[in-house]
């Protein structure tokens, strides 16, 4: 237990010392919020079913943070730790691999939550964001989405031969997904042809689920999203256990 606490605290410090990762998790989403907020404001519009741009952007940007931490933070950290012999060094100690993985998940989840919290606070203070959902439902949706994407990150880290390939593949998956899934900007702005592509992107289900729950829709309206994400989570856990290696 003591090692888990120490390791988690250490990983949290290391996360914040990595300027690029911390920027894309904590600062960049806020910049997007203020950019689009200053262009469109947060007046209710019929295009978003009577919600404002910022109202629907907060869950969408949360999905963006989840995708970034899952596909970049987890993937790069785990692949680098393995490639550089950091896991090898840990293996000579009595510490369990579960502690290493758990610390990573806890820290990245905490940072993802912090990113979302900053969005909510800024949205409330600056744009008087409206929240019509059930906070507990949103929280469960957020946890499910995060863990599914972390699983994806562990899969990449486990399957890719080097840290460099893991990073490149992570980026190649991440960037198109941010634009096509409705996370980076509202899907309503995308042409129909592209909307069809988005059905194949896991992030689309995160955006659907979080946006729906945020505006007060129920889980029964989002069973597909929930099933896809839960399946992704199960596959992620299985593959990461199977592919985990110390070196």
């Amino acid at each position: 237990m003591k090692s888990l606490l120490k390791m988690t605290w250490m990983e949290a410090k290391l996360f914040l010392r990595e300027p690029v990762g911390a920027f894309f998790t904590l600062v960049f989403p806020l910049m997007m919020l203020f950019l689009f907020g200053s262009i469109y404001g947060n007046e209710p519009t019929p295009m978003f079913g009577g919600h404002g741009t910022i109202d629907i952007s907060i869950p969408a940007y949360t999905a963006m943070i989840i995708a970034t931490t899952g596909l970049m933070a987890i993937t790069i950290t785990m692949a680098t730790y393995r490639e550089n012999g950091i896991l090898r060094r840990l293996r000579t100690t009595p510490v369990s691999p579960l502690v290493v993985l758990a610390a990573q998940v806890i820290v990245v989840f905490a940072m993802t939550s912090l990113g979302m919290l900053l969005l909510i606070v800024a949205g409330k203070l600056v744009y008087h964001v409206r929240f019509e959902g059930n906070a507990f439902s949103v929280l469960i949706g957020f946890v499910l989405s995060s863990l599914s994407f972390f699983g994806l990150g562990f899969i990449l880290a486990g399957l890719m031969p080097t840290a460099r390939t893991a990073q490149v593949v992570g980026m190649v998956l991440l960037y198109p997904m941010l634009f096509l899934s409705g996370a980076g900007f509202p899907r309503e702005l995308l042409p129909d042809a592209i909307k069809k592509v988005s059905a194949f992107l896991p992030l689309t289900y995160v955006v659907n689920l979080l946006r729906g729950l945020w505006i007060g829709e129920t889980w029964s309206q989002h069973t597909t999203d929930a099933i896809v994400l839960a399946a992704l989570l199960v596959v992620g856990v299985l593959i990461s256990i199977k592919t985990f290696r110390w070196e």
Partner: protein, 306 residues
């Protein structure tokens, strides 16, 4: 003296390559035991089997009475390991690494004391990536000492260090041993093995080709002691005959005197007194002793290369 490590008939293959074969030896309490040999001789494979990081194909291993495969957890709590290739996260600071690793052991040593002992106090807040090679190795030794281990494994500890840092590291290893710990190390520097180890096993192509104290191995060579000097004049005839049990070889102005086995007076004093007695001016006189390097050469017919 208790046996700390016992290895019998160890064999490990990677595919068709036999990395280690028929390796048997013991490490006794309180000694510095070295495995020396060229790269690819099987040193690291052997030490990693002892550490429980690799599974041997055959043979029995007991480390502190434990089977590294079945009782790895207990073994890792009681031994310190420094690996040939390992790292810490770039931005982790020296004190943070010690503090974190200390939390892994039930009875960890006080890391603040280790920081002072290893001369890392000034580097306390330095990130791992900003440390020099020697400082990184000192930090790894500190991490290996955290469990208060009875036995410390050091794999290629001084590879990549400059001569000064290497000397300083040797002093550290001796200091660790003087605290009653047993040390098992690998190196491909014959000089390091000779100067640091109480006993060495020389490995070549996965097998132990010689095992003993460096002195005994060198003596076993039967190689002669040499005295070398330079002359401006020519050596007078009959010089060789005036010496007892020695052979003289002249290479230009350089003269090499080989002493044979079973001499009573040290060769150097005999040569010097003869030269001064006959009033022959000489310069650059030195003695050359055979080294472990010569032992390796005579056993394998090859020179060891970095």
């Amino acid at each position: 003296m208790d046996t700390i490590v016992q290895v019998e008939g160890l064999r490990k293959t990677y595919g068709a390559t036999v990395a280690v074969d028929e390796v048997s030896f013991e490490v006794r309490e309180g000694e510095i035991f070295g495995m020396v040999g060229p790269n690819g001789a099987g040193k690291t494979t052997t030490i990693e089997c002892l550490e429980g990081l690799r599974k041997p194909d055959r043979g029995t291993i007991r480390v502190l009475g434990l089977d590294p495969q079945r009782e790895g957890q207990t073994l890792r709590e009681r031994t310190g390991m420094q690996l040939q290739q390992s790292n810490l996260p770039e931005r982790m600071k020296v004190w943070e690494a010690l503090d974190l690793y200390a939390s892994f052991y039930p009875k960890a040593a006080d890391w603040k004391e280790l920081l002072a002992q290893l001369g890392l106090e000034e580097k306390r807040n330095t990130p791992f990536s900003k440390l020099s090679g020697g400082q990184k190795q000192r930090l790894f030794i500190a991490l290996a000492l955290l469990p208060n281990p009875q036995l410390v494994f050091l794999d290629e500890l001084t590879t990549g260090l400059d001569p000064q840092a290497r000397q300083a590291t040797w002093d550290l290893v001796r200091k660790v041993r003087s605290k009653g710990k047993t040390i098992m190390l690998t190196t491909h520097f014959m000089e390091e093995a000779e100067r640091l180890c109480d006993r060495v096993a020389i490995l070549d192509h996965g097998r132990i080709v010689a095992l003993g104290t460096p002195e005994a191995l060198i003596r076993g060579l039967g190689a002669d002691e040499r005295v070398v000097f330079s002359l401006d004049s020519t050596l007078p005839a009959g010089f060789e005959k005036a010496l007892t049990r020695a052979a003289v070889e002249v290479q230009g102005e350089r003269v090499v005197v080989h002493g044979k086995d079973g001499r009573k007076i040290p060769l150097v004093s005999e040569v010097v007194s003869l030269l001064t007695g006959q009033g022959i001016p000489f310069r650059d006189l030195r003695t050359e002793q055979p080294t472990l390097e010569d032992v390796f050469l005579s056993l394998t017919g090859r020179e060891i290369k970095d």
